[in-house]
Subunit: 762 residues, 2 copies
């Protein structure tokens, strides 16, 4: 496949375009897969969780490298709550005895798996301490829908211990919902259906999770806020005012233990009670029952509730033209054990980029805007390193940051990319400019091909059809909305800084060893990215996003994509309310007709679902009007941009600077100071992690979740809020469009009131 | 729930209606669940496969009972090809050794499972003899789609032994397609995902298939013709002209062995090659691979290719008014081992009905039409008892039979019912008149409730939406189209006799022990119909269909439902061709664009699908016109029927008789003498078992399958044929409508040409 001649990068004057493309070639030439391999092997050679010597050593190693590569680099530290297990026990006490091993043995051929000594045992950080003995109930993935199914069968988890399988939602939601339903403890296990032999051969024959593999991970409630549980909204500096542990809303009140499928097997096999419905059945070789009992379990956790120092590495290269516009690029460096995939495969790409940019700088080039490279600590317990840094520097970041580019785990295969739709066009441009190392096509063409062939997986709130249609029509590739689960969250959803998250995946066996001891260098070079070609591709992609944003004359933003998705999200919530109303009416009718009774087996306890009340009609007019206004303003800006491009952005420097300032603030105009209902820390009106999904995004979250949760008052309350955010963005685009028109010779449009600044974030 | 006052039965004069309803009450009162239990226990006490002493004894037992109950009864025998295994062997010879046990051990608490001595080992009748040693390939369900997936991975089964799992299609298609693709032998196993612990606890704890359970069954090609392989189209009487075995199209050329999941485990676990795609993975606890090899298997089958005598029990009660109109009711009596569920649970309902009708007759009543009760032998090897009887008496049956009512296995739960849509209204009436024994609602209301709550499972050619819509709108309940797999096939699809097939299911564990030694009385009374209440419900339902059809003044037929489905089927095939055309175009484009190459993992062999050619445009006009004409004629007949009902069918006896004769022939007008493309034995233009489904129906099969198989010439050829069938039915309805109008006082409609008789079947 012959790639088209590269077009001039978005936002560059003609004279600057060729230099930028040449710089990107030089950038690519400075990236060496052998170095990625060397760094990965060294950094993953010892356990490197928060608080471990090797994690700190990795930070210091990077600090040295950044300096060597010509960056102004420093380590910023924070003091954060980081409980570690003192003792953990899990045993079945009836109907037979079984003591869970709660450990991951050495695996043949994996050199590090036998000496994880400096690491921690598998545990779920931010579960409570506790000691409970109770009957066991299987709750499937532990979602709200799962509890509804239990309820229809008359199964109550109050006073019980629940066992949930990993998957489908943020792990922290599983114990949170268990706790809300009255359970006294929660076990989370890895079913081979999601993570093990069902998907492929297990490690070491293949890359999938062996039956002893355990998924560690945080169960802090990141849907409330990310970062240190004791310092929401402020940096966890040494002297910061901290909440008492009992008041931290992100901490659980019940204990949680993660276990392997081997440890889960005797527990699940001993359950009786109703046979679990089809969607609840995993791949273990027995009939899944729901309980409660007769399996009775004793579970105990005791922890050291101390603080740890965390080490964010931050490297700065000062911009020559706009030193107060910052392009930030980050990945975390803390792992759960060796962390070869997660996070080091992504982190070494960040290092390669930093080295390559350093190489460019050594040749005399300086970026127009300031570039900040960061390697965060303590992402795993709850995006802490990034969040504390973002909270500490909030005011400055909101003034200066134009884009945050994040990565995390990296594998092999297809680009995945989500983020602020104002940068969708740039992502498309860059995706077309980077070559997939195994096919020679552009990474964007590969991704488009896959979507054409396989479609887009449905996500909450979207059936994937709009994305597939866009790809088939050849329109701009639609990037995903971001939920949470990596370090973009504090930037995007707390501070309103435009963000992009990306990586490669789909042709590897990542899920197999995720958050286990087997996430190792030996695993990665067999089942991840053996030749480090996708590490290079990640560096080339993220590097271009950084370089183009840093050096563009006008920030490389377009707003048609943003207006399109905003319009689509509005249509979706309007339809959601209508569907909800109609579905509720039908369901009530069905319940009242007795159909559920007649459809159920009289020999089994299976009650009808709860009868839903009426859904009111909402006045969505402010929202649809705001979406329409945003569309008009976005089109006007994009058209003005095209005209200005035609005249090579012939604006006086001060005008250009003012334009760039206006563009910097567009994303923040989509935030509101009072935040989302019940979780004020989240301020973005377009994107948030779902309260009941955690990882997956909810778009227009305040409206959508209020309707989903049947909180009609909150829905009514949220509509004008979201409309105001869209209107505020539109007003800012109007001003930017006006700013784009060169004054020379051409009269500016007649008096148009400058919109008031958005109420927050600017 | 209060049931409405029963309406006058369809087709009855007012004066006769009350007597009919009273007779049905007396009929119900004569049915005793204790008797069903007694008969079931006795008849399932010994193995009763074709040729066994107990199968013959059961026939003789029924003969005695029918006579005792006042029927003219006899046994009709046929001589049919019935190979039985002399020796069978299956072993893995590499990479390790494993000798399959090929037997079902005794199960604790199941009294008969330990003495199946008079039975046959698990085998697949009509597989060939053979001895092969070859690498193994896993082919999933063994469908065409599965071979396409193998092909894309470069896996060729030529010279290999394939292993397929039971499910999704007629078992005979698995070795047939294996043979067509060049395999030298076929193994079929029961995966716990379809039949075992995945669904529920296994026998004896629960009702599902234990890991030693084997599904026996025929692999004769019933999609070509049913009955004795050597006498297609004619009765297998002693002196019938028989085909040489080598010329029988329904016999395989390769050997087949059915095995348990225990025997399958080491074979499947030893496979390597590509990991099987998600839809191929069963519930065994390892990664499913496709092969070929390194598992190498030796398989050998040698059989006695002798004939057996089969015993159809046929009992007749002569009609008083229309002795030459026959209502036929049947179920088979041969099992694979003990056959408690399949077929005896249904067969005992037939016996209860016969006894109750006998009781009515003893009180002096005689049916208007002749009633024939039958218990067929040799259904299991290929619907042989029913087919040979139907072929032997074909001419008489086509002249006289007005309805065939079939049942087979019976369980517990919801009515399932399929058949000729000309009897859909009667089925609705009867379904509303029979009470579900566990809820007190009518069986129809229960079924409607379930569809409202759970929807209708999609079947080939239908997404179930039309059925769900009908139920939700309160319209007539839409009965299913019949494919094959039980004794209605020779009546409906070979002879064109209106048929209904019914039973109860959905709240039992039938699939668990289907065609195994564990299909026993002990299993049935725990996991089937413990109180025999659904046996009674089956008798009440089928009995009403028989009694009302036998005693109605005008045959209880309505044609709106028939015209509706014919119209829907026509719309479906038109849409199928359009979709096929558009999908082919898109797929070609996608292949040509190279998208499949870019979407595939370069590290794996996965070729694009084959590029489909153009789909021509078909002239469907004759078909849509015929569907419209049928609709008009059906509406006119139904309206005339309603008017005649208003005048209490005041027709002279000879006119009424002529009307009934016309109605008797409607179903046959839907057949064509030359039959379906490539399988002339199947003559019905509306319903057939799919060539690639076996059990599941294809509607408008000649057109639909020709399009699906991209045989454009056959599609073009079939359209006028099907249109002629619909037109022929319409013409007959026109004549019947004319006949319905009483001559007295009212002039008959002006000269309308009497349509020519349909070219066949009348």
């Amino acid at each position: 496949m012959v790639l088209a001649e590269p077009a001039a990068p978005l936002g560059f004057k003609a004279a600057a375009a060729a230099a930028e493309l040449a710089r990107e070639k030089a950038f690519d030439a400075a990236i060496d897969p052998a170095e990625l391999r060397t760094w990965l092997e060294q950094m993953s050679s010892e356990p490197n969780q928060v608080g471990s010597p090797h994690d700190k050593a990795n930070a210091e190693f990077m600090l040295g490298k950044f300096k060597e590569w010509g960056w102004e680099a420093r380590i910023e530290t924070f003091e954060v709550l980081y409980p570690t297990p003192r003792s953990m026990a899990l045993e079945m006490v009836a109907p037979t005895s079984y003591r869970a091993r709660l450990a991951e043995p050495e695996v043949q051929g994996d050199r590090t798996s036998g000496h994880a000594g400096g690491g921690l045992p598998p545990y779920n950080i931010y579960g409570a301490d506790g000691d409970a003995t109770a009957d066991l109930v299987y709750v499937n993935f532990g979602t709200l829908e799962d509890y509804a199914e239990l309820g229809r069968r008359g199964i109550d988890v109050r006073g019980k211990i629940v066992i949930a399988r990993y998957g489908q939602c943020w792990r922290g939601l599983k114990p949170k919902l268990a706790q809300e339903h009255g359970a006294v403890a929660c076990i989370i296990y890895s079913d081979p259906h999601e993570y093990g032999y069902w998907s492929g051969d297990t490690y070491p024959k293949g890359g999938y999770r062996p039956e002893d593999g355990v998924q560690r991970g945080s169960v802090g409630d990141i849907t409330q806020y990310s970062g240190d549980p004791l310092t929401p909204g402020i940096g966890a500096t040494k002297d910061a005012k901290r909440l008492p542990i009992a008041e931290a809303r992100t901490l659980l009140k019940i204990p949680v233990i993660p276990i392997s499928s081997r440890d889960a097997t005797p527990l699940l096999a001993a359950l009786e009670g109703p046979v679990a419905p089809a969607g609840w059945r995993g791949a273990l070789p027995f009939t899944y029952h729901m309980g409660p009992g007769p399996a009775k379990v004793h579970l105990a956790v005791a922890s050291d509730w101390g603080q740890k120092t965390i080490y964010d590495v931050v490297a700065v290269m000062r911009g020559a033209t706009y030193p107060d516009q910052w392009v930030i690029r980050g990945n975390h460096h803390d792992g759960w054990v060796f962390g070869a995939w997660d996070p080091l495969a992504g982190n070494t790409a960040v290092m390669a980029e930093a080295k390559a940019i350093g190489t460019l700088a050594k040749s005399g080039w300086r970026p127009k805007r300031t570039i900040v490279y960061a390697s965060w600590d303590a992402e795993e317990p709850g995006l802490i390193g990034s969040t504390e840094w973002a909270e500490t520097h909030a005011e400055e970041l909101q003034r200066k940051a134009v884009l945050y580019v994040n990565s995390d785990t990296n594998g092999r295969g297809f680009l995945y990319v989500g983020g602020s739709h104002s940068y969708q066009r740039l992502v498309n441009e860059v995706g077309g400019a980077v070559t997939d190392p195994e096919t020679g096509a552009s990474i964007l063409d590969r991704l488009r091909a896959r979507i054409k062939v396989d479609g887009v997986p449905a996500t909450s709130g979207s059936d994937g059809q709009a994305e597939k249609d866009a790809v088939e029509s050849g329109a701009e590739f639609p990037i995903e909305a971001l939920g949470s689960g990596s370090d973009y969250t504090p930037f995007l959803q707390h501070l309103g800084i435009a963000s992009v998250n990306l990586g490669f995946q789909g042709e590897d066996a990542d899920g197999g060893i995720y958050h286990s001891t087997y996430d190792s260098f030996d695993h990665f070079i067999r089942f991840g990215d053996p030749k480090f070609l996708y590490g290079v591709a990640l560096a080339e992609t993220a590097g271009r996003l950084v370089l183009r944003t840093a050096d563009a004359d006008v920030l490389p933003m377009r707003f048609g994509g943003l207006a399109d998705v905003a319009g689509r999200y509005v249509s979706e919530v309007v339809k959601l309310a209508d569907d909800e109303r109609e579905d509720s009416r039908k369901l009530r009718q069905l319940i009242d007709s007795g159909a559920f009774r007649l459809a159920a087996d009289p020999g089994e306890a299976y009650a009808p679902p709860e009868s839903p009340g009426d859904v009111p009609r909402f006045d969505f007019a402010p929202l649809t009007a705001a979406a329409a206004r945003l569309k008009a303003s976005a089109e006007a800006y994009d058209a003005a941009f095209d005209r200005a491009l035609g005249t090579d952005f012939r604006l006086p420097a001060v005008e250009l600077a003012r334009l760039n300032e206006l563009l910097q603030g567009v994303e923040q105009s989509l935030t509101r100071a009072r935040g989302l209902p019940g979780r004020a820390w989240y301020r973005h009106m377009l994107y948030a992690p779902g309260i009941y999904t955690g990882y997956a995004a909810k778009t227009l979250p305040s409206v959508r979740e209020s309707v989903e949760q049947r909180n009609w008052a909150a829905a009514v309350d949220s509509i004008p809020d979201v409309a105001a955010a869209l209107n505020s963005a539109a007003a800012r685009l109007d001003e930017a469009a006006t700013q784009l028109v060169p004054r020379l010779g051409q009269s500016r449009p007649a008096a148009r009131p400058t919109p008031p600044p958005a109420p927050d974030g600017l």
